[in-house]
């Protein structure tokens, strides 16, 4: 059994080398996030006037920011924030979207019509505008940032799941389940839901990266996860960008981290799409 599993892993690794690269990148970041406390050499919040804008090297592997805080330690703790935002928002958005799409596709009728209209309304409001208004009304904080980024994800997910459900409803096994007198709800949960998981996972992975970028954009515009939490977006925007000439490390490292993790999620997302959703396979 075990060798079978590892064989499969080896096969997948050969089949999707880029996906493996993505998975490795993600794993590194996730591990860094989980063990941030142990990995980070310094406290990410402690300011130190003597280390203000210290160059990379020595105690400060990636230099220090204006406040004399260690950039490397902040990057590692920042992985927590960025991953929390992206995973949280993706889960929340995809979860709500899937529930809505499932209900809408399955119940149909007026409810479906209503959900579709609402989705259309949400999609014609620019995403960043919605996120801006939501963060402004809830106030800047980590959970609020997650909510603000998650809500605009809902309509897209709901639509994909809905169309999936509509085609699944016509499938023989659903017909068969109906014939056995299974309740509609049970059919929806037992038969239809698991079959929407593959596209859902594909869609969610694709969203992971873009949520990180949205958080970075929000931070750039002065919203997003507030100080002193070291979100990468916050780190490379605002004051950091101003010191780019004397202290380019303030901009380069967080920017690279964002690009790298988004790159990783995209690689992984592509591979997952290939593996799970044959219709979209390259």
């Amino acid at each position: 059994m075990k060798t079978g599993f590892w064989n499969d892993v080896a096969y997948l690794a050969r089949r999707y080398p880029l996906g493996v690269a993505g998975a490795i990148i993600m794993t590194v970041f996730v591990l860094a996030a989980i063990f941030a406390g142990t990995v980070a050499p310094l406290d990410p919040f402690t300011t130190n006037p003597k280390a203000s804008l210290a160059k990379p090297g020595g105690t400060y592997l990636m230099g220090a920011d204006m406040m004399g805080r260690d950039v490397f330690s902040r990057m590692i703790h920042g992985a927590r924030i960025s991953l929390a935002v992206s995973i949280g928002a993706t889960f929340l958005g995809s979860g709500l979207g899937a529930a809505l799409g499932l209900a809408s596709g399955y119940i149909g009728g007026m409810f479906d019509l209503l959900v579709q209209r609402v989705a259309e309304i949400m999609q014609s409001l620019p995403l960043l505008v919605m996120a801006l208004v939501i963060t402004a009304s809830l106030g800047p904080s980590l959970p609020n940032t997650i909510i603000a980024i998650a809500i605009p994800l809902i309509p897209n997910v709901a639509r994909v799941i809905r169309s999936n459900v509509l085609s699944l409803r016509e499938m023989p096994f659903v017909e068969a389940a109906k014939a056995t007198g299974m309740s509609e709800f049970r059919i929806a949960v037992v038969h239809v839901l698991p079959n929407t998981l593959a596209p859902l996972i594909v869609l969610a992975t694709a969203q992971l990266g873009s949520t990180i970028l949205t958080e970075a954009s929000l931070s750039f515009l002065g919203l997003g996860v507030p100080e002193p939490w070291p979100s990468w977006g916050r780190m490379l925007s605002e004051s950091a960008a101003e010191y780019v000439r004397t202290a380019p490390w303030l901009v380069i490292f967080p920017g690279l981290a964002i690009s790298l993790i988004v790159f990783g999620t995209n690689l992984l997302g592509d591979a997952l799409r290939d593996a799970l959703d044959p219709r979209q396979r390259d």
Partner: protein, 314 residues
Amino acid sequence: MLSYIIRRLLLMVVTLFGVSIAIFLLLRIVPGNIADILFDSAGLIDPAEKKKIVADLGLDLPLPMQYAQWIGGLLRGDLGFSYVSEKPVIDEILPRIPITARLAGFAMLFSITMGVPLGVISAVRQNSGTDYGLRILSLSGLSLPSFWLGLLILMAFVHYSGTIPIYDRNASGWNWWMLQLIPAAAVGFRSAALIMRLTRSSMLEVLRQDYVRTARSKGLSDGAVTYDHALRNAVLPVITVIGVEAAFLMGGLIVTETVFNIPGVARFLVEAIRWRDYPMVQNLVMFIAFVVVTVNLLVDLAYMLVDPRIRYGS
């Protein structure tokens, strides 16, 4: 066909109506109104003065009445006055539209002219070095934060050429083109990457189709097969994505207009939200929503034009 368009137009009206309610309510959920912001900017609060402003602007009226006033005006073509500049909203919005429209247009143009051919090349040379290179390029396009990219571009320009490609309304000639194209490329990079990926996978899908084999069995050259038979089919999903991107592009425009200091509607909208300038935000969002649904309609019509299966209904 005609009835379809009429149906779509009706749905558009319903959607826009929904958008108007949504934005109206959203804005009023947000804590603080223009009076708070004005007082914040002056660093003090005199409750009496604040109350007066609120009353002057009609912000103490019941919500349905405020909504009716706004929509009533909107239907008559009267967008009201900006709370901040105290000028007619229309005068604030109109001059900014061409600026953003140009940027968005060039960005879209950039992303299509880059994305489609590169996607085709990538698909035709599937699994070659070129393909891998292009795929990594497109993935990085989706991975770079656009404002970061914009900042790096600015920095590079200042460093190497001593000029800075930020908006300059007096620019002309070659300079004008540079100032249009550089931000357009910065904002269009992501869309280009997206279109490239989509073109590639769509193209690969199409290249597997029977009719491509048929075309080759007829003795057509690879070029004719790829561009005449396959590409035509492959761009169909790309067209839909262009529609979806129209709404997404707005987000990119906001940060790009900020980085390149372009006085367009996108950045203006963010400022208006910050100032709680309701008439400005409401009407701008309505305008943007209108553009988005119109683009979607146009995309669907274009789709019909290109795809006979939909045109003649099956």
